[in-house]
Symmetry: C2
Amino acid sequence: MIAVLSGGVGGAKLVLGMSEVLAPQELAVIANTGDDFVHLGLRISPDLDTLMYTLSNEVNPETGWGRKNESWQFMAALEALGGETWFRLGDRDLATHVERTRRLGAGETLSAITADLCRRFGIGLPILPMTDEQVRTIIHTDQGKLDFQTYFVRRQTRPVVTGFDYSGAPTARTTAQVTEVLADPQLEAIVLAPSNPYLSIDPVLAIPAIRRAIQASPAPVLAVSPIVGGRALKGPTAKIMLELGDQPSAAGVARHYQELLDGFILDTVDENLAAEIQAMDMAVATTQTIMQSIGDKTRLARFTIEFAASMRKR
Amino acid sequence: MIAVLSGGVGGAKLVLGMSEVLAPQELAVIANTGDDFVHLGLRISPDLDTLMYTLSNEVNPETGWGRKNESWQFMAALEALGGETWFRLGDRDLATHVERTRRLGAGETLSAITADLCRRFGIGLPILPMTDEQVRTIIHTDQGKLDFQTYFVRRQTRPVVTGFDYSGAPTARTTAQVTEVLADPQLEAIVLAPSNPYLSIDPVLAIPAIRRAIQASPAPVLAVSPIVGGRALKGPTAKIMLELGDQPSAAGVARHYQELLDGFILDTVDENLAAEIQAMDMAVATTQTIMQSIGDKTRLARFTIEFAASMRKR
């Protein structure tokens, strides 16, 4: 069994690769819900949705999020009514949010709903919300404290970041399923996916029971760098690192996670950083980490699994 | 000023005709909200929507309800997720429900939201919900007490009706706008539209302040028969009348409203019933009442207005 901590697009790509290589019962995803929010009265879980859509081959291949073959009739009609349109909800995507919201309102847990939606999408492996309680990522910026979607979508990551607050995380419990995965004596690796460390992985690690379980696990913990050649493959990771005074590089990411990591995978273009990262007392492996084709994803997945296996043998 | 009490499809047709004949400030619609319900967490107001869509030329001309040029991507996606699909919500229609639900949740009244939606739809005349409070039509049947949508959509009006309960109506207040319209000394007529008496008009009349205001108004009160040649033009009106032991005819409708009416308009095919209805102490006028073309609607609207004027002169 391999556990992957993941956010949305980047993480979902690696998880998709792993799902091609491993049997469903050999893989579990622990997903960030710190970006979850209520919009138009609907509960939206962006990372859960991106994972579900990616793993069911329902994802829009051009964006990496949202649904393929999407239509926008609802949005056009809402705009005509003067409704809020800064967050775009496609007609097919909307079904996920309406159904989730209805079921949460009926008292079901996010975990139970997600498990059922995954079954409906034909996804065999478990996608586990990090918690069924409310954790919200707050971004401290030069324009004040912003909730995730305001920072990310409305202001398009332009504000200068000064820090983060994972509101609710310090007191949030994780779920029985997450606890079980991380306590599994058969666990072969815990992988931090190539997602944004601050916005996608840190909210998961901010839940005390999850961090403790990772630290207590005998399984090697490794990360795949979301920064290649000093740039984020997607999103504002490098920009945020610069703004926080961190080194906007794979080495900066390794340092950020240093306390937890046994191993780090960086791109071949960043091979020159290997020694610096090894000096942080972790194993380092380099490979091509940019995932475009499904072949790229399975190759990186296989590489990650083999790297984890090599660490267990040490 | 003419006030029309209306349900959905049939009433909306007459209101559309009247809107062609009268200036927006000469007409007000008092709309049934007894069919309103919450579905998929969304607040749906079927009669308000049918009125809005009809008056904005947005209505599906084939059904008389729902939106034209509608698409069903949301519904198809919801079905794939195992969601409830017995009540069909189109992608464009959905925008109305989502926006209404959001604004109700933010504390706005149904009246204020409806007024704003009408403005967005370019509708000049006021569509006034009969109340901002909750009134729900309950249908007593041989299969037990059913809410409106269960009876009407799920069971397709098949159960045998034994009675009705307009839950909440006896204690519901109407709105300031409805009160103002009905108390207007310039009011020239109060028209009960050719809607289902039990399901569309009686819920409005069940609100004590509305019934009292109609009884107190010096304006003539008249009804347009929803039954032509012993059949309802749409829906289960005749079936319900039979089940209740009422006469399934225009005369039966006149008798149902007898206490309130000064005048009654019936179709030329029912001319043989005129004497029976006149004997109920009301004026009777006959004309072609079936509204297919816009010409039919404006002609019946004009006829209704002139009939009301003739009653004022008596």
